[in-house]
Every structure is written in C-alpha cells, then in structure tokens.
Amino acid sequence: MSTRATETDPSAPDDAPVYEERVSLLDRVPRVVWLVGLGLAGLGVWQGIVALELTSRILLPGPAETFEEVISTAGNIITGGHVAEALWLTTQEVVWGFLAASALGFALGVVVGETKFGQVAVMPYLVAFNALPKVAFAPVFVAWLGFGINSKVVMATFIAFFPVIVDTAAGLASADKDTVMLFRSMGASRWQTLRKLKLPGALPFIFAGLKTASVFAVVGAVVGEYLGGGGGLGELVRLSSQQLRIDRVFALIFYLSVVGLALFAIVGWIERRIVFWHRADPSDVVSA
C-alpha cells in the first residue's frame, strides 16, 4: 500500500505555491504604537476642527488650551484651592456611593440569585426599577435629603447598584450543576454550598459588576451635584459652562474621569489579588 502511494505521488515542483503564514500588521507593530497612534489621531481631528474654525473657539477650545487648563487646575488642586475642595467632596460622594451600591447590590443579588422568592417576587420589581430614568430622581433626593453630601451619595448608590445585583445573581447561577450535586452528595448545607462553592465561583462576575458600579457611581455623584447644587466638581462644571468656560469644563471632566478610573483600577487590583484562578476580562487594560 505504501509503495503504491509513493509511486503515484510525484514530488511537487520547486515553484509550487506555499501556504504562507501571515502575521497581521496589527501583530507586527507593538501595541503601544497603536494605542498612542489612535490617541494622537483623535487629538489631530480635534485640533483640525479648531484650526479650520468649524466652530467658535469659545464653544470648542483646542487641545492645547484644554491641556493648559488641566495644568492650571492641577496647580489649584495641589495648593488646596477651591477645585481641591470640590474634588475631595466629589471623591467622598463617589466612594460612599460606590460602597453602598456594592453592599446593597451584593445583598439583593444574593437574595435574587439564591432564593426562589427573590427570583419570583423581587427580580421583576428590580427589572422594572432599572427601566426608570433614574437621573430624574435627583431633585427628589435633594428635596428629601437637602443640598448636602447625603443626596449625592444616595444618587450615586441609586445609579450604581443595579449592575451589582445582576452580576451577583448571574454569578451564583453559574455554579456548575455537577459540582452542586457533589456538594449535596457530601451532605453540604445550603449555607456551606453558598459559602464554599457559589460565592467564590461568583467572584469574577461580582467584580465585573463592581467595576461597572465604580464608573456609574461617578455619574450618579456628578448628576446629583449638577442638579442638586451644593458643591463638588459637578457644581463647578455647571458654573463653568454657564460662564462659557468650556476649556475649564473639559479640565474638570478630566479630573472626574481620573476619580472614576482610580476607583476602577483599585477594584481591578483587588480582583487580581482575590480571584487569582480566573482569567482577567478584556476591559482589564492594566494587566493586559
């Protein structure tokens, strides 16, 4: 059989086509180049729009002016000026709002994910609740809790807690069926199954929810300040835009995103310590 195969198998000519391995351009160029390149391109477009005077300078300041404003704001922050005060207030609101959203979201997530009652009776209300335009509640919270920090913390919590519920419940439900059976066969109580199997298994999901919440908490705090006054970066944004100081608005938004990113990074850092057995998710640009 083998001899027949060699007899009828003429060796290929030297100029026969070769199945070449192709490395895509994306892989050949270091990823930093792509990252920086795209960023610069974005700035270029921005600068282009400003240079061609497609809009008025007042409505759209250029990258250079914005950068200047970011630097001078940094000066204000370092020397403990009014922006530093506002930043500190907003940070407090975000952190408290995030912590409250995490606790509330986790607790409700366990109820929804672990109990039949939660699944049948609680979850439909939560889904309906999530469809509400939550931002519209800001004035209500101000009316109830005043112009101080409380109404903003509640607003941040209010906007941020839902994803934590959904992800916690999904994480608990993701427990492998056979492993759940195994726990039952070992005589594990419901609490033991939750503690030793479902909760650890849900951690990657829970952290995904917490990351979403960390970003949402900033939105909630700023919306609260914006609509409910009383101080903070959101209040400064409102004042600056009324004065048509768009460059300052941009600078303030920059520092707001720093608050959100810092919280996001801290949550990601804790996740990598705790959930060591699980591959990081694609939004985790730090460890990628």
């Binding site: 492998d176 492993t179 059976m181 066969s185 070992m186 030793k196 057995w277």
Partner: protein, 252 residues
C-alpha cells in the same frame, strides 16, 4: 448490600419517562458496570441511588435501610473532575471532611490526604491548583476526594469519560486496585464497553428510554486484572456479547 426495588422515574417537568421498574442488587464488595445508550437514564438512576433526587416509585435500600437523602457512606464521582479552582489539590481532597466536620477536622486529616494523593501518583502536587493540573491528574484528585471519607459504596458516573485512552487505562487499573484494597462496593456508569468489562464483576445492560435492565452479564475474568487481558479471546467474547445486547437494547 445495595438494592434497587421496582424503581421508576418520570420527570414531571417535561414528562420524560426515564426509568421503568428497575430491579437490581449489588453485593458487598462487588463492582458493577452499567452501560446503555445516551439518554436512557443512567445518570438518573445513579442520582436516585445516591439519594440526590427522589424516585417516582420504588425504592433504594442500602444494607436494608431505605435511602432517603444524601448519605455520608456513599461517595460520588462525576464525568468532570468538578474540582474547586480556588482550592489546592490538597484542599480539594479535604473538602468532604471540611463540610462534614469543619475546617479544624479537615486540617487534622491533612496527612491522610497527602497519603491518598501519593497513592494515585500525585506526590508533590499537594499545593497545585486545578488550573495547573492535566485532566487525568484532576480526575485522580477527584478520586482521592471521594475516598477520603472512606465510603462503603462508590457511585461513579462516567468518571473517566473526559480522559484520553492511555490515561484512562491507567486510571482503570488504579481504580481496580483501590476497590480491591478497600473492598468497596462500586456502581459505575460508562460508555466504554472495554472499561465496563475490565472493571466489572458484572455488567448491567440498559435499554433505551425508558431505561430497563435488559441483561446481567457476569464477568468471570480472575483478578487482579492487568490491561493485557483486554487482548485475550475471552475478553473479546464478552465485549462482543455485550455489544450485541446493546444493539438489541437500541431496537427495543
């Protein structure tokens, strides 16, 4: 002795008649293999025998007492190793003790767990996480986890289905040695006729759904068996016989 009497199971939710009047006996220290078409109710039977789900009618008796829920003297093993990825091999093995008697008791039995891991050729892997183990190694950890509470009955649901042929043969020899050593009663579901014949003292053939036992094939190959018996004519005859029964079962 493990007895199943007139056991039937219908899943009410989707009206699937999975098992139909199953009667069987597994004697103490006996190794019984069960084989049948996919979906004929083997896993269902195993779960009922383990007390994990109730039967629709009939009952399961272990040493004369009815099985009414999960029991500590029954050890289970599944097709997948089902290890907890956040626990080391050693911690996974100790899990059943931790659940039954608490973390302190589990810690006190570490030596036994280390010994078991050594027994299945995993010495030095105590601190490894499941993500760092191969499929066969993970399955061996699962065996240790089943054995640590010294169950008198082992219920195995395609325990080596996910393994490659060579590893599977080694695991079969391992399991035979462990069962003989401990005089454990074992009931194993498998899709491999060779595995069923190699390990079993008897082989139950199940019909397609609703699952019934259509034949009990005694396997009189002397123990301890080495994998070379699989090439002997007598082994081949039994395999051939089981195959013909299975085909018959499909037609029923």
């Amino acid at each position: 002795m493990l007895r199943v009497e007139d056991l039937s199971k219908t899943y009410v939710r989707n009206d699937v008649h999975a098992l139909d009047r199953i009667n069987l006996t597994v004697k103490d220290g006996q190794f019984v293999s069960i084989i049948g078409a996919s979906g004929c109710g083997k896993s269902t039977l195993l779960k009922i025998m383990a007390g994990l789900i109730p039967p629709s009618s009939g009952r399961v008796l272990l040493d004369g007492t009815p099985v009414l829920g999960p029991r500590p003297d029954i050890g289970m093993m599944f097709q997948q190793a089902t290890l907890l990825p956040w626990r080391t091999a050693l911690e996974n093995v100790l899990l059943p003790i931790e659940i039954r008697d608490g973390a302190k008791a589990a810690h006190a039995r570490s030596d036994l767990a280390v010994e078991l891991l050594g027994l299945v050729g995993l010495a030095g892997f105590e601190k490894a996480y499941p993500g760092e183990l191969s499929g066969g190694m993970a399955q061996r950890v699962a065996i240790c986890r089943m054995l640590i509470i010294e169950p008198s009955v082992l219920l195995l649901d395609e325990p080596f289905g996910a393994l490659d042929e060579l590893t599977r043969e080694r695991m079969n020899e391992e399991l035979q040695r462990i069962c003989t050593e401990r005089q454990a009663t074992a009931f194993m579901v498998t899709h491999s006729i060779a595995e069923a014949v190699f390990l079993g003292d008897a082989l139950f053939v199940m019909s397609a759904r609703p699952g019934r036992i259509v034949e009990v094939v005694p396997i009189d190959i002397p123990r301890p068996r080495e994998f070379s018996v699989t090439t002997e004519p007598h082994f081949g005859e039994i395999v051939q016989h089981v195959r013909s029964r299975l085909d018959l079962g499909e037609q029923l």
